[in-house]
């Protein structure tokens, strides 16, 4: 059976995988297929079951029922084979604080059985890529949160795994460090299969080929970011900030665009297609002074809101 799965183009397949903690169901029958080379994101709020799912796929937690295969190897029957092809950057910054960055990287290379010279070469590249080269001989205890996080991600890359799990790689980072981590992940894209969990919708949107939205242990939506956003609404939303907006002008506009909402300092128009000049050419002759117009994009937050009635952001 294992052979038949291998080579079907899927790096990961899960089969109704579930995990209970006592009576609490943390992961509830997930079926997923992740293609080789794909960057796949699990997006969901805190407590949705993302980490539990990742820990099962990494052979750290036993599924209560169901199973999964990684590169064709069953996670329960052949964990050793699975461990040879994966690596993971856990949600916590999992580093050896008393060692320096180089020692941390060679520890990971060593226990994966990578040859010393190759570990050295890869460490240089990774330190360079993560911007840690000039502090690589310092004990990592002294690093900033952002540096520790970057090292933690680098440690998952030394073994050059076929399948890489990144559990909330930018959790708790300042916006600038977050951007730089995104850039590193974007560089890796296409080279290996990556599963990235996050509760930042911008992260999933910016990086993922496909996104699975997870809530209360279940996958509630799956698709490319575009598909997901289109599924919520094929309507455009335009925000017009303006002065001198008269009742007449708004009523008149409603004849062209039925859904016009008054907001602070202006109006919000919702329609299948909104032509910029249709709006401007109508309002100007009525004496309205337009300060700005902008098209508002549907976000994955809207997708989540529509599916669950809850906001993704806390």
């Amino acid at each position: 059976m294992t052979e038949s799965i291998q080579g079907n183009g899927f790096a990961i397949q899960t089969f109704s995988i579930s995990r209970k903690f006592r009576n609490f169901v943390a992961v509830d029958g997930i079926d997923l297929s992740v293609k080789e080379g794909e960057l796949f994101s699990l997006l969901g709020p805190n407590g949705a079951g993302k980490t539990t799912a990742i820990r099962m796929l990494c052979c750290l937690l036993r599924p209560s029922s169901g199973t999964a295969t990684i590169m064709g190897h069953d996670i329960q029957k052949d964990p050793v084979a699975v461990k040879k092809v994966i690596d993971v950057s856990p949600q916590e910054t999992a580093i050896a604080e008393y060692l320096n960055a180089r020692e941390n990287l060679s520890l990971m290379g060593g226990i994966h059985g990578i040859e010393k010279e190759l570990v050295k070469k890869r460490s240089e590249e990774l330190l360079e890529m993560m911007g840690l080269t000039n502090r690589s001989k310092e004990r990592v205890k002294k690093y900033s949160g952002g540096m520790k996080r970057r090292l933690s991600i680098a440690m998952a890359l030394v073994s050059d795994p076929q399948v890489l799990f990144l559990d909330e790689p930018t959790l708790g980072l300042d916006p600038q460090s977050r951007r730089s981590v995104w850039e590193y992940i974007a560089e890796l894209k296409g080279q290996k299969t990556i599963v990235l969990t996050t509760h930042y919708l911008e992260e999933a949107d910016a990086l993922a080929d496909r996104v699975a939205i997870i809530d209360e242990g279940k996958i509630i939506a799956l698709g490319t970011p575009r598909e997901l956003k289109d599924s919520v609404s094929d309507m455009q939303v335009m925000v017009v900030k303006a002065k001198n907006l008269t009742f007449d002008a708004i009523e008149g506009l409603r004849e062209i665009f039925p859904e016009v909402r008054e907001i602070e300092d202006g109006i919000e128009i919702k329609a299948k297609e909104i032509g910029f000049f249709d709006v401007v050419d109508y309002l100007r002759p009525k004496g309205v002074i337009i300060e700005s117009t902008s098209l508002k994009e549907v976000t994955l937050d809207d997708v989540f809101l529509q599916l669950t009635g809850k906001e993704l952001r806390e």
């Binding site: 990494c58 052979c59 750290l60 937690l61 993971v88 950057s89 916590e92 999992a94 580093i95 073994s159």
Partner: protein, 240 residues
């Protein structure tokens, strides 16, 4: 031999986190120096009587260092990350216990060296003394594995106090006879008093193996139980 790479990391950490090393090596020496000065008022406090107990007290300190290392790596999820590498359970168990064996040996050498300078004498077989102490030290490393697998980094020093107190009340710093009563019989049910007592008897009275055989097997039995339980609890943590 991949466990050696992880063992090397743990060995390095013992020395980098030097506070626990200072406790494990230096504190027992200081204890020995202080306690032997009481020898002027109470004849029990001479280096020959004191050294075996304080050596065992040092083992308790070393077990603290070992359970802290394990608990720290569990807390920081470094252990999770290491567990996703293709290493076996035995590799991990060796990597988190073997690095303490050289520390134990160093501790025994340094403490007996200090005792020697203060006039310690071994009337019986020195090899027998070392054997029983060494078996006991492996038991303490097993205890470290148990505590490190069960408690968090913050809780581990508190839980370890139980090991520490049991060691002290087993006669590490004084003669168990002074305490007597119920406490003495509880301590006699545990291995620590047997290890200290047997080592003392060989050193002071020069008795042979047959006289301490019961003590020796008592210690050996507990060591096997501690190590087996440590391995069991660690394995349970590997895939929850």
């Amino acid at each position: 031999m991949r466990f050696m790479i992880l063992a090397k990391k743990n060995f390095k950490e013992i020395f980098l986190d030097y506070i626990s090393l200072v406790f494990a090596i230096a504190l027992p020496i200081v204890m020995l120096l202080i306690l032997q000065t009481f020898g002027r008022v109470e004849s029990f406090f001479n280096p020959t009587n004191l050294t075996p107990g304080i050596v065992v007290f040092g083992f308790a300190m070393i077990s603290l260092s070992s359970c802290m290392t394990l608990a720290r790596d569990r807390d920081s999820a470094l252990l999770s990350r290491l567990l996703t590498a293709p290493l076996s359970a035995n590799d991990f168990i060796l990597a988190y216990s073997l690095p303490y064996v050289p520390v134990v040996i160093m501790h025994i050498v340094v403490l007996f060296g200090t005792g020697g300078l203060l006039g310690l004498e071994i009337s019986g077989n020195a090899g027998l003394v070392l054997l029983i102490l060494f078996v006991m030290s492996i038991g303490y490393i097993g205890l470290g594995m148990i505590l490190g697998s069960v408690f968090t980094y913050k809780a581990v020093p508190i839980a370890w106090q139980a090991v520490n107190l049991l060691t002290i009340f087993s006669g590490a710093w004084f003669s168990l006879e002074i305490i007597g009563g119920g406490i003495q019989s509880i301590m006699n049910a545990l291995p620590f008093a047997h290890a200290i007592g047997a080592a003392r008897d060989v050193m002071v009275q020069g008795v042979g193996f047959s006289d301490i055989a019961t003590d020796f097997y008592w210690v050996l039995g507990y060591t096997v139980v501690f190590v087996a339980l440590g391995i069991f609890l660690f394995r349970r943590r590997m895939m929850e």
